[in-house]
Symmetry: C2
Subunit: 263 residues, 2 copies
C-alpha cells in the first residue's frame, strides 16, 4: 500500500463514526486542555486511535506524531518516516458551530519533506489529497490556487487562534488585517489551507502552528500551485519551530511578507 | 396570510434557484459595487425580485427596503408597514467559500418594531423563523441562546467587514478580540446572528450595519432569549443610524459593553 492510499482509506474508515458523533454532539464527553477554550473530545481521541492503528498495521516501523495522547514529540531523527495526524482540526467548531468548520488532517513525511497529505471534511464529504510532485485533488478533480494578484482584492484568512496568541497575531499581521480586501477567521487550519488549495481563499496566516495542524494542508496548497514560508520568507521546517506560517497562492506571497511585522 | 408564513413560503420558493446557481457559480455574472470586494451577483438581484414580488402580491401597500436595486431608502414614516430584505447576505462567501457561509434574510416591521423575521441558509437547508413574543424556531424546533457567562470562555463573532471599517472595528472592539475565549469572523451577519440564536456563538459585533443586514437575525436572537443594543447599551433603531450593533446571549452583554471603546 502506498501512503496516499492509506490516507484515503483512513478517511473512508472514520467518516461514518465522525458524522454519527457530530449529529449527536449534545451527548459528547468534553475535557479541557491548556486553557478554558482548548477542548478535547472523545471523538478526537477515537479518530486518532483508529488512524494510528491503520498506519501501524500497514507500516509498523513508521513514527506517528499527533495532537493527542502524548504523541506530540517530534522524531529524534528528522529524516525518519513519520506520520502527522490531527484527528479533529477545529475541535471548538466541532462542538459549537452552525456550519461544520472542522476536518481530519493526515500527512506523511520522509527525509523531513512532506510526501503525501490529505484533509477530509467529514460532514460535507469534501476530500483533498496531494502527493509531492503529483498535484492536488479536491473530490477527485485537480485543484488549483487562485489567480488573485493584489492584496486589495484578496481574501485572506488570519487565524487568531486562542487568547494567548491574539496580541502577537495583531502585532505581526495587523497590517494584513487592515488592508486585505476580505478577511476571515475560522480557527481551523485545515479549512484555511484547503481554501487556498481550492482557490476559494488567497492566503492563510498563523503565528505559531504545530506540524500536525498544517502538514497536510501546506502540501495541498503547494501542490495546487501555492507557496509557503515562515514570516521571513524562509522555508517551513516540519520538525523545528518556525517563526510564523504563511501559505498563499504564490502571486501574493511577497506582498504579504512586506506587510508582516518581523520586529 | 400572516407575515411569518410569507417569509417561510418565500424561502421555499427561492431555495431551489439559489442551490442551482450556487452549484454552477463559475458561470455567474458578477459586478462590483462600492469597492473592489463588495460584489453583486445576478443571484442577489433575482432573489430580491422574487421575494419582493411575493410581498407586493400579498401586501400591496407595504414598503420594501432592500439591499439592491435602489431600494435602500428608509421609509418616510418610520411607523409604516415595512419589509427588509437582504437577498444574499454574504455575497462574497456565495462566490468564494469552501463552506456555504451565506443566507437569505427577510424581516417585517411595523411601528418601527420588528414583528417577524427569518433567515434561510439554502445550501444546508437550515431555516430560522421568529415572531415577536412567540420565540424563535430553528428547523421547526424552539431554539435558545447559550448559557455562557464569561468572556474568557465565550465565542464571539466580530464582523470586520470591508477594508473601510477595519481600523474602526479594531479601535472599538479590539479589547473583545484580545480577550474572548474564541474569536470568529465569517463576514455574514446572518451567520453571526443565527449562531447566537442557535446557541453556537455567544455574541455578534459590527460597527455599522444596514437594517436589511441585521433585522431578521436580531429578532431571532432576541426571541431566542438574547439581548441587542448599540455600543452604548441603547436600543437599536431600525431606520436610524446606530453607533454599532451588539447582539449577545444576554448574560455577556454588560461585560462586552465594558470592553467596547466608545470614545
Amino acid at each position: 500500500m502506498i501512503e496516499i492510499e492509506l490516507i484515503e482509506n483512513a478517511f473512508a474508515a472514520v467518516t461514518p463514526y465522525v458524522r454519527e458523533r457530530h449529529a449527536d454532539k449534545a451527548g459528547m464527553e468534553i475535557s479541557s486542555k491548556d486553557h478554558a477554550t482548548d477542548l478535547l473530545t472523545e471523538v478526537d481521541l477515537e479518530v486518532q486511535r483508529r488512524v494510528a492503528a491503520m498506519i501501524t498495521e500497514a507500516f509498523p516501523h513508521d513514527l506517528i506524531v499527533a495532537e493527542e495522547e502524548g504523541r506530540t514529540r517530534y522524531p529524534d531523527d528528522p529524516n525518519a518516516r513519520a506520520w502527522l495526524i490531527d484527528p479533529i482540526d477545529g475541535t471548538q467548531n466541532f462542538v459549537r458551530s452552525l456550519l461544520p468548520e472542522f476536518g481530519i488532517s493526515i500527512a506523511f513525511a520522509q527525509d523531513g519533506l512532506l510526501v503525501a497529505g490529505g484533509v477530509s471534511f467529514p460532514i460535507t464529504g469534501d476530500v483533498f489529497l496531494a502527493g509531492r510532485g503529483a498535484g492536488a485533488l479536491h473530490n477527485g478533480c485537480t485543484t488549483r490556487v487562485s489567480d488573485v494578484r493584489s492584496l486589495t482584492t484578496a481574501r485572506v484568512e488570519i487565524d487568531f487562534g486562542g487568547p494567548s496568541i491574539r496580541q502577537r497575531t495583531l502585532d505581526r499581521a495587523g497590517s494584513i488585517l487592515l488592508h486585505t480586501g476580505q478577511f476571515r477567521c475560522h480557527c481551523a487550519a485545515v479549512l484555511g489551507l484547503c481554501s487556498v488549495a481550492s482557490g476559494d481563499s488567497d492566503a492563510y496566516v498563523h503565528v505559531a502552528l504545530s506540524p500536525w495542524d498544517y502538514a497536510a494542508g501546506l502540501l495541498l496548497a503547494e501542490e495546487a500551485g501555492g507557496r509557503s514560508s515562515d514570516f521571513h520568507g524562509n522555508p517551513i521546517h516540519l520538525f523545528r519551530e518556525n517563526d510564523g506560517i504563511l501559505v498563499s497562492n504564490g502571486h501574493l506571497h511577497d506582498e504579504l511578507l512586506a506587510h508582516i511585522n518581523t520586529k
